[in-house]
């Protein structure tokens, strides 16, 4: 049984109230999901809070999953990401933004080995973008930066950064439709 079939099975059991299945689902997916939350929040305690909230949400809303949402892990990923983005907004409102330069841009090329060929559509398309577009989209995605923060980080006018993101998305769309 493939991993994604197994996750569907576990999610289905969880929907029926099977807590053992839900624990298995957690064990199989939490290192991946925690990494995603941690990358956005850069704070273990907060990332763990997000993970907890996300899994409670998954438990209660298992029935909202369906095939149009992609595989189960992709669906859970988006739940964690949106939660983490919400926390990030809150955190930024509460504290002075600490510009953290330790988090370099993610090196897309070096990560190819982790994906099977059918999964790399978007990743492959990202590498076809020009550097400015790719950097803007990566920073927004991995660091949760707003357009304004992107402009600050990249030392470019807001309009320029917005155009990079917009054109980057258009290019991704074209590339994915090829």
């Amino acid at each position: 049984m493939s991993e994604s079939t197994e996750l569907v099975q576990l999610l289905r059991e969880s929907f029926r109230g099977n807590q053992d299945a839900f624990e298995q689902l957690y064990k199989k997916s939490s290192p991946r999901l925690f990494a995603i939350a941690l990358r956005l929040l850069k704070d273990r305690t907060q990332a763990e809070e997000v993970l907890q909230e996300a899994f409670v949400q998954i438990w209660h809303n298992a029935s909202e999953y369906h095939s149009e949402r992609g595989d189960v892990l992709a669906w859970m990923t988006t739940i964690v990401r949106y939660r983490a983005l919400d926390h990030l907004r809150l955190k930024k409102r509460e504290a002075v933004i600490n510009e953290d330069t330790d988090w370099e841009l993610y090196d897309i090329e070096s990560s190819y080995g982790r994906q099977s060929t059918q999964e790399i559509a978007l990743v492959g398309c990202m590498s076809e973008l020009n550097m400015d577009q790719r950097n803007s989209i990566s920073l927004a995605f991995f660091e949760g930066l707003t357009h304004e923060e992107l402009a600050g980080r990249l030392s470019k006018p807001l309009g320029t950064v917005k155009a990079w993101v917009r054109r980057g998305i258009q290019s991704l769309k074209k590339c994915l439709e090829r």
């Binding site: 049984m1 569907v8 099975q9 999610l11 289905r12 059991e13 929907f15 029926r16 109230g17 099977n18 807590q19 053992d20 624990e23 957690y26 939490s30 290192p31 991946r32 925690f34 990494a35 995603i36 990332a47 763990e48 907890q52 409670v56 438990w59 209660h60 029935s63 999953y65 369906h66 095939s67 949402r69 992609g70 892990l73 992709a74 669906w75 990923t77 988006t78 990401r81 983005l85 993610y106 982790r114 994906q115 790399i120 559509a121 978007l122 990202m126 989209i137 927004a140 995605f141 991995f142 949760g144 930066l145 707003t146 992107l150 993101v165 917009r166 998305i169 258009q170 769309k173 994915l176």
Partner: protein, 248 residues
């Protein structure tokens, strides 16, 4: 405001990436609620960008996180029964569920009402030597397309399978209705016996292996078989009904 496809695609992507913020984000979320087209655009980008998220190396959370989640879901008042009431159409990806899911909603709804009667009936049964095979009781209800209850199934902790006919369940003359357990992992269905006709009851003791397959099973199914049951040990006729097993 009606967005062009190109606008929709861009805003959906920015929503997924996270760069759409504040008021714009809230407004877009409202549009998602109102429009299938908008949701589809978001789902499509979510699947693409989930791949990008997969590139981040795994990080194990502290063990305490699961303990907290467990405590939170155990403490929530939501039970199996309320789940079935609030979600009448569980939708899951794999094709196995595509054929199993259709008659669920009504069967699930009916089960809540029938549960009471089931427990009452069971309490009137003579109790067996209490040997526990499975951790919980399971129930399932089969209902017709018009939501008329047909059979009610109960599997108790000691591995007793009890079925009552609730409606018109007389099989065509040359046929029998056979009940199947659909094990986890989409393994081959296992026969649980022939179903009682209108007004009838049946009770059988499941052997230990079969009883232990009940926990975690994908559900139950009923097929139309030649009189006396499937000659092969696997369903040979059409699958007429399916029902999930609900844990009590």
């Amino acid at each position: 405001m009606k967005l062009t496809n190109e606008q929709l695609d861009r805003i959906a992507a920015e929503y997924v990436i996270g760069s759409l913020k504040g008021q714009g984000r809230r407004r877009f979320e409202t549009m998602m609620m109102e429009s299938y087209r908008v949701r589809m655009a978001v789902w499509s980008w979510e699947q693409q960008f989930a791949q990008l998220a997969m590139m981040i190396p795994d990080q194990a959370p502290a063990d305490a996180v699961w303990q907290r989640i467990k405590a939170q879901i155990a403490a929530s008042p939501e039970s199996v029964e309320t789940r079935t009431q609030s979600d009448d159409k569980p939708r899951f990806a794999d094709r196995f569920m595509d054929w199993i899911r259709q008659p669920w909603s009504m069967a699930l709804t009916a089960s809540v009402l029938l549960l009471v009667g089931m427990l009452y009936w069971q309490s009137n049964y003579p109790t067996q030597a209490p040997q526990q095979y499975i951790a919980q009781q399971y129930v399932a209800t089969f209902a017709s397309e018009s939501a008329e209850a047909l059979w009610l199934v109960n599997i108790s902790e000691d591995g007793q399978l009890r079925v009552t006919s609730q409606g018109d369940t007389l099989a065509p003359e040359s046929n029998s209705y056979e009940l199947w357990l659909l094990p986890a992992d989409a393994a081959a269905p296992r026969s649980l016996g022939l179903l009682p006709a209108t007004g009838g009851r049946m009770q059988v003791q499941l052997d230990k292996a079969l009883a232990s397959a009940v926990a975690g099973a994908a559900g139950l199914a009923i097929s139309l078989e030649p009189k006396g049951g499937s000659p092969t040990g696997a369903p040979t006729g059409p699958v007429l009904y399916q029902a999930p097993l609900l844990r009590l």
